[in-house]
Symmetry: none
Subunit: 201 residues, 4 copies
């Protein structure tokens, strides 16, 4: 049984060229932004032929996808979120790190570019959820699960929604440039989410 066959035989593929293309995509996204990010420019910057890109990736978004995947694989972040026992502190630390990442154009701009592609391309969106967002989300859920088991979260909380309530505001503020994206903001989000909105008795 063969795999869905989404690319030609990878055996002869040039790894150097592959890396050059992903690097060029990242660099160009950071430099000129999504609007001016063209396949032609990526190929030229990478010293590759256009066809080489089309041979291995179905779309510009897919290139960005792999480029960002390579970026995070390279960093090879911890497979798990920190668990010091103090949920609030741990979440603040992680969210502050996220805020810092968004401040780095080398990450932020390709991410924005990929976001646009994902917003427009349902197939890419599915792949994005599965391969990029998914694992991170699962990791976050595991930490929340642990917290719930430790009695730090309401036992009946819908953890998916909890997750969106914590990371969503940060992502939105970045995506729509809705306000300053600072560590203080990250802290405030965590506190507000944990305490809930109703007055405590």
């Amino acid at each position: 049984m063969t795999s869905p066959r989404r690319a030609p035989a990878a055996a002869r593929r040039s790894e150097a060229t592959r890396r050059a293309i992903l690097d060029a995509a990242l660099d160009l996204a950071a430099e000129v932004g999504y609007a001016r990010l063209s396949i032609e420019a990526i190929a030229a910057r990478a010293g590759a032929g256009k066809q080489t890109i089309y041979r291995w990736w179905p779309s510009k978004g897919a290139v960005l996808f792999d480029a960002l995947l390579a970026l995070s694989d390279g960093a090879d972040g911890p497979a798990e979120l920190p668990d010091t026992g103090d949920l609030e502190a741990d979440l603040k630390a992680v969210l502050r790190a996220t805020v810092e990442e968004f401040a780095d154009p080398r990450v932020s701009e390709p991410m924005r570019a990929l976001s646009v592609e994902v917003l427009l391309d349902e197939r890419l969106a599915a792949e994005y959820r599965e391969r990029l967002d998914g694992p991170v989300r699962a990791m976050k859920l595991r930490r929340l699960q642990a917290a719930r088991e430790a009695g730090q979260l309401a036992p009946d909380a819908d953890l998916d929604i909890v997750l969106d309530m914590i990371w969503g505001p940060v992502r939105d503020r970045w995506l729509y440039r809705e306000g300053p994206l600072t560590a203080d903001f990250a802290d405030a989000v965590v506190e507000t989410a944990l305490d809930g909105l109703r007055p405590r008795p």
Copy 2:
């Protein structure tokens, strides 16, 4: 005090053509999606010359912007969110309405198209926040303010963050197509946000 003067004298402007262009933009966005939404197509559909669009709008995003503005002006929704005294019920009602809007391609597709433009164009983003998102946001804040004064929200809650925690998850789920966007989901979000994440004593 004069405005920044971003367009020629509006006196002679043809209202019929303006409407035709906005309608065409809305129709086309709903029909073919952002990817295939071109100024040329809008002009052709509207029976207008391209130059007429360029005369009055600086970008495709600006057209979409006005088109959606006109759509909501037309609806001329309530200037205030409902206030029955029951915050939870009111929020659920509003959020369910939002979910329903997202289900209508005539609203959802132009909105997605505008979102993409806003994500990419800082100037448009500023205008978006000021003229489209801003008033709605202010209205939401007023309702939360009233709730806080009525003792239904923690007195020290940062209402901006509260707002993002409630509407953010819905918008994100729509934007990234992260899961089914249902009335139940809207209810769950409101409940989770209000109750907070920590276990109640």
Copy 3:
């Protein structure tokens, strides 16, 4: 019986605007050449509305036509070619004057522009022959006629062709920029035409 009525009642016509338009046409032709000579530019330069041009002239060529007509009316050259009795000397004098006119961009460039219009527009060509070229040609023919009667030209010469043989080479050299357009060239043309090509016994 009414005239062909090719323009509205001229009574109220603004003479100042008419002059401004013709001047602007001449100036612009001399400055930027035919390629960049647009009705919009003429109107702007003249401080006139486009419609004022369209009201009185059917085409850009017609404007140029009138502009050049006004130019030569202004000069109001002699109604007849000089006749000193010496045909060769007279022709040389006239042809040298023509050469000099072609060297003046204020005449040459509008003329070139008009030529292009005439080449392309049969109706304009007819009017050109009748009202601009015609009178000049008739004048030339009268001088040649006089010369023939004075026994200085072969009695059976076709004067129309003679005329083309004398002025044609000068106009062609100007039109196609085929070589230096000098007084010497004018002299040589006259001499060659008069002497004929066959060896004299």
Copy 4:
């Protein structure tokens, strides 16, 4: 020594497309005339992309130029004018052929279009003289030279001017539509030029 390099590497150039474009240019010029001859129309008729035209030719005039060059290369007319020993007869034959060519819209209309371009574009004019008009002119001069050596032309005649005196009137009459362009007219021009204007003793 390298050429001025005015176009990309011609190695990969599609000959079929090149022919299709030149043919389309010729056809359209003959059909709709210069005024309506657009690059877009040529591309559409040729089934080519506009960019392919812009890649290889700098202007519409250059396309027409090559098209007419191909036309005459195709005909591959005699490398020399006929020389029966009878100059008058030979010139009449050639001039009659010219008159006939002008009567064929498939030649005449593209020629008129090219003329307009040449009139307006000095660079094109230079190329025109060098590559289209030049060789023909040299051929004509050789025939006149031979005639002069055979004692059929005045030994001191300026052959360039002679040439203009013979072919100029025909071209002018065509260009400006100044009168019927017939074989008789061609004959009369040759006779008048040869006999000269002065009365023969």
